[in-house]
Amino acid sequence: MAAMASAPAVAVAKDAGLSALVAVVLAFLIVGTPTIDSPGGLVAGSRLGTVALIAGAVFALRFGVLIWGRRKGEGTRGALTSALAARSAPLLRPLGFAALGFAFLLPTMPFADRYVVDVATTMLIYVMLGWGLNIVVGLAGLLDLGYVAFYAVGAYSYAIIAKTFGLGFWACLPLTGLFAAFFGLILGFPVLRLRGDYLAIVTLGFGEIIRITLINWYQFTGGPNGISGIPRPTFFGMPFTAAPRDGVTAFHEFFGIDFNAEHRVIYLYFVILVLALVVNAFTLRIRRLPLGRAWEALREDEIACRALGINPTNTKLSAFAIGAMFGGFAGCFFATRQGFISPESFVFFESAVILAIVVLGGMGSQVGVVIAAAVLIVLPEVFREFSEFRMLVFGAGMVAIMIWRPRGLIAHRDPTLRLHPRGAGG
């Protein structure tokens, strides 16, 4: 028995050793010889200890993966995942409601200081963006790598409209949504005939075009300096300021409470919570309408859809526009929350984060997006001291998820409508 077990162990060690060797070749120059600025030009340093560390880590990782993979067997993995998904499916609804209750009570909890509410607000922005992109990627199956463009359009259109015409947040919100949706239509119309990965690259190109335009059209967008002094939201016309202008009642004056800067933070939190819930309700409803069904059908098989008389271009366009609208809402909220926006906030990495949220959540799953946003936004906050490794882990995580759970944390791709309900025979 022991002899039989040792032969594969040797093979595994050999394989892992080879991997470590490859890692040494990879890391030797890039990691092992850092180039340092010096008065006479660059000089090379030496960091061979780190290379050895990397090689050791690769060896251990490969060894572990091989041993673990051998013990579990290859075939059971997929079955296990789907069984897990099937078992967790009935739990999702109560889980969702519990999360909802928690979200509403969060600001009243003892541990919820300003920082916690702030992080929760950021997370909810990403939840909303994730739900918006979920319509495009998860439901309609269109890979959009430039989603941040609509976020940017929403933010900039709010900043510019509010500052030019003196309109408030609530008046601008529908306008920015419409504006972003309009952008989605314009951008989507020429490109939606393209196949999946071409579409991805073109949307990525569009995202870059919008960002470059924001940087360079400085008369209109403020260029790289961005726009500051964006109006803050008001509570039925009442601002959250200590000393409001004459004739304006501040929030704390109306309610007869002491001024507290946290009021605005909590208010913003509830605004984004309600916005996100509206998006969620909309998505859940539209999935049961013919349009939503057409999206999902299109995701599964475009040719079959055409044969059934669904117009693929219009259907895709509607998904693109509605997804863009939600991105625009989120951008509008982002602008009013920050009070300052610049092109730095709308780089490709943001698109990748939003996409990662959708993918990690399991494309098409609403609860999955919330869990994924919590993982991707809150965890980096918790591990702040390792912030320089954040992006590294993020990239590696995207690869790992694709390999181990390509369907995301919550695999949700079964039909939303069944001829025979589950368990009823057959």
């Binding site: 490859v22 070749v25 990879l26 890391a27 030797f28 120059l29 890039i30 990691v31 010889t33 850092p34 180039t35 600025d37 030009g41 660059l42 000089v43 090379a44 890979l143 790598l145 020429p190 490109v191 005939r193 393209l194 196949r195 999946g196 990965d197 071409y198 991805a200 690259i201 073109v202 990525l204 190109g205 569009f206 870059e208 075009i209 470059i212 335009t213 940087i215 360079n216 040719i303 730095e344 780089v347 490709f348 990495f349 990748a352 996409l355 990662a356 993918v359 320089e388 992006m391 590294l392 993020f394 990239g395 590696a396 995580g397 995207m398 690869v399 694709m402 390999i403 390509p406 369907r407």
Partner: protein, 331 residues
């Protein structure tokens, strides 16, 4: 994100030479100078584009991390040049050879490792999985190099000086530098070698067979995994050459340079017809020209917009590209 792609200095050799003589901006000499600059930039894009086109041809995925491989090639060039300088090796030819070999070897291993770790386990997964994985690899490699080598630009003193003055009109001299000629020769030489490999050798036949039908190729005794690995290695080697060239040409490398260059090289591959090797080089040259002329005659700021605009137009009106074959979707 101040980096504007490898073309960010394309206009500067010409405009600095032409300063004070704005009248020549629309003259013949200025035009020829831009043509020379555009050809050089285009050759670099072409070299990167070959990697995209080969990988897309064989497994039908966009290797989003290919631009990062090119960036790593550029960094290895900087590091090896610095090491050689510290070792006191001054010979231009020798150091160039060592740098090219080191870059090609190490970058090939990167290409192999990326394919092995991030793409091979995903064969047979759903359609968008490899692309998303590739985005992850791209983010990983960018931050890996940033962490290891620092976020600042890596300057490199010119290693290949010299050049020729072609002619002079109205006080505007048209120059070709030695490095530009070197880049052209290398690009077309490598394209010829690779075209020959694919057309004539057993490896090329295996690649074409794998491209046409992976299952059938495997049945006929072709090691499909190995063929795909070699394709990635070949693409990475060319990207390494492009990275070395761009470092020599502009004298600077930074960790974010692969993103836009990769995007433009992909545009070039699509423009030329994805899957076609001469198409990739042709597309690269066209994108390089468009970018250079746009910067020279219109605005430098929007040159990337011009390149992406071309991509969108090509995909809409001629999705098969200039030299590509139409793709038929079957049920």
């Amino acid at each position: 994100m101040g980096y504007q792609g490898p073309g960010h200095k394309t206009a500067s050799p010409a405009t600095s030479a032409g300063d004070g003589q704005r009248g020549t901006r629309f003259g013949m000499a200025f035009f020829v100078q831009q043509l020379i600059n555009g050809l050089t930039l285009g050759s670099i894009y072409g070299l990167i584009a070959i990697g995209y086109t080969m990988v897309y041809g064989i497994i039908g995925m966009i290797n989003f991390a290919h631009g990062e491989i090119y960036m790593i090639g550029a960094f290895i060039a900087v590091i090896v040049f610095v090491l050689l300088g510290m070792a006191g090796i001054g010979s231009v030819a020798l150091s160039l050879l060592v740098v090219l070999l080191a870059a090609i070897l190490i970058t090939s291993v990167y290409g192999y490792a990326v394919e092995r770790v991030a793409y091979r386990p995903l064969r047979g997964s759903f359609r968008l999985a490899p692309l998303i994985s590739a985005i992850g690899v791209s983010i990983f490699l960018q931050n890996y190099v940033q962490l290891a080598q620092g976020a600042r630009n890596k300057p490199l003193a010119p290693r290949l000086p010299g050049g020729f003055t072609l002619f002079e009109i109205d006080g505007f001299t048209v120059k070709v530098s030695a490095i530009q000629i070197f880049i052209w020769l290398l690009t077309f030489g490598l394209m010829a070698v690779f075209a020959w490999i694919i057309a004539k050798t057993a490896l090329g036949r295996a690649q074409r067979a794998t491209e046409q039908d992976r299952g059938m190729a495997a049945l006929l005794g072709i090691d499909v995994d190995r063929t795909i690995s070699i394709t990635f290695i070949m693409g990475a080697a060319l990207a390494a050459v492009a990275g070395v060239m761009v470092t020599l040409y502009y004298g600077v490398a930074d960790f974010f340079m692969g993103f836009l260059a990769g995007l433009k090289a992909f545009t070039a591959a699509v423009l030329g017809g994805i899957g076609s090797l001469p198409g990739a080089v042709l597309g690269g040259l066209l994108i390089g020209m468009i970018e250079t002329f746009w910067s020279a005659y219109f605005t430098v700021e929007y040159k990337d917009v011009a390149a992406f605009g071309i991509l969108v137009l090509v995909l809409i009106f001629r999705p098969t590209g200039l030299l590509g074959r139409p793709e038929i979707e079957k049920v």
